[in-house]
Subunit: 284 residues, 2 copies
């Protein structure tokens, strides 16, 4: 299902966003070769453990909506062209403007999608397993509109875009699945836009907490599973402002300590947040 909270955007001028391990922060990903077809850039001085997915992982990838209905043969041919690779945290994976050589599937870890203009940086969304990113660019053979970096140590499956397009022509079910995925992504970004423009910072944070509560069992105990700095980015505010938004929510049944949040009065919080399926529900 599609998740709008992966599609919230933030202008980020602060120096925070550019941190990371200086040994990796500004390098491109190294890629262990596993196929003959497309040659990925090979930078051998970064430790990696490229190789085969475990069968459990492959099963989960196969089960993605995007691939679930693919013909066996098409899937196998496409996967034979793919690379599976481990990346350290804070590694720059792709750069906006570059040609979209690969469709990426996050199998483990987390990847931050972001963009630049002027001298500002914006986090667009965060991708977690199991899901794909830059499908649109791959499908159109167009340049990336966003850059990507790992947040944590991550395992990523990289399928050459040419092979994705070949598979799409070979298998109707796959092309329909791509279509559905893109439609869903489109709607996600539209919802994100509505969220950003129709709600203020505090309302956005409140809705995010309510959304987390839903996905985490609905018991009023929420764990924020990304850095607050990135969450602020995702929710479209500065870290300082987010801190103040949390304070503002204390009067509405929200208790924060570190990355744990307790919602003690969900009805009250909803009165403030006014959640709407046309804005918040994935898959609506």
């Amino acid at each position: 299902m599609f998740d709008i909270y992966q599609f919230l955007v933030h202008e980020n001028k602060s120096p925070y966003g550019k941190s990371g391990n200086p040994a990796f922060g500004h390098m491109n990903a190294s890629l262990a070769l596993r196929s003959k077809k497309t040659q990925p850039p090979d930078i051998p001085d970064i430790p990696t453990d490229g190789g085969l997915m475990r069968s459990e992982e492959l099963t989960k990838v196969r089960a993605l909506d995007l691939f679930a209905d693919m013909k066996e043969e098409t899937f196998d041919v496409m996967m034979a062209m793919a690379y599976f690779q481990a990346f350290p945290p804070h590694l720059h994976l792709i750069t906006e403007g570059d040609p979209s050589d690969f469709l990426h599937v996050v199998v483990d870890g987390a990847v931050e999608m972001f963009a630049h203009a002027n001298d500002r940086e914006t986090t667009i969304y965060v991708v977690r397993p199991y899901s794909t990113f830059i499908l649109a660019a791959s499908a159109l053979d167009a340049p990336y509109l966003m850059s990507a970096r790992t947040i944590e140590k991550s395992h990523i499956l990289m399928i050459p875009s040419v092979d994705v397009r070949a598979a799409m022509h070979a298998c109707t079910a796959f092309s329909h699945a791509i279509m559905a995925e893109l439609a869903s992504c489109y709607r996600g970004v539209i919802k994100n836009t509505k969220n950003l423009k129709l709600r203020n910072a505090t309302e956005r944070l409140a809705n995010y907490l309510l959304y987390c509560n839903e996905t985490q069992g609905g018991h009023g105990v929420v764990t924020i599973d990304i850095e607050k700095r990135i969450l602020a980015s995702i929710l479209g505010m500065s870290p300082e402002n987010q801190s103040r938004a949390f304070s503002a929510l204390k009067g509405h049944g929200v208790e924060v300590s570190g990355n744990k949040v307790r919602l003690t009065n969900i009805a009250r919080l909803k009165r403030l947040a006014k959640p709407s399926p046309l804005l918040d529900d994935p898959g609506f």
Copy 2:
């Protein structure tokens, strides 16, 4: 080609947006029946002139990227199910949350797409001929995420979503075209998001003017072909603020009078606007 300036968003609390002919402003569209299959809502007390497209119009529709490669037969079958309808200005066409019964093709006029939340209204984008709207919802059989109203008297072709989906299953070329269109739309909204978040109001206006200049011959004479109020909405600012942004641009080679704008120093304006293909170029 895809146009990001149809995908700029604005929070609009002002009463301006809700104006229009009071006789039509809050009614749903009436539709003259032309086919047996899907029954559109029929509100006969609004004058309409539903009927057949002129062959020139049909040719233009057929030439859309979305339909150009369709099999003759599939196209004809689908079009036999469609309605062609004239609507007066400021007529409310569709409402967010409603099921997406039709794919709309604007053949003449202009349609404003907008959305609500809390008590605010946001204009998402404007559709002009020849192009479609709410393809994503039609393809997924999902509810509309946006509402739509005519800006001017408009001629709109309405194709029942069920027939769009049937055609998509009957014709691979069509499903691929839908896929490409959705990918392009997705990228447009991402660009819009970047535009909104990485540029301030004045920069957004400056880039819009540069974009208009490109599409209108590049001679430094630009006509703004929508109400300034709606443009402000499209560019993500209040009308008042837009007025001030125009003033701010006077020092950068911009002369405004009514809806005519002269760009007397394009290099200077570009220095301010910093246009980027990853943000401004349709089809990039």
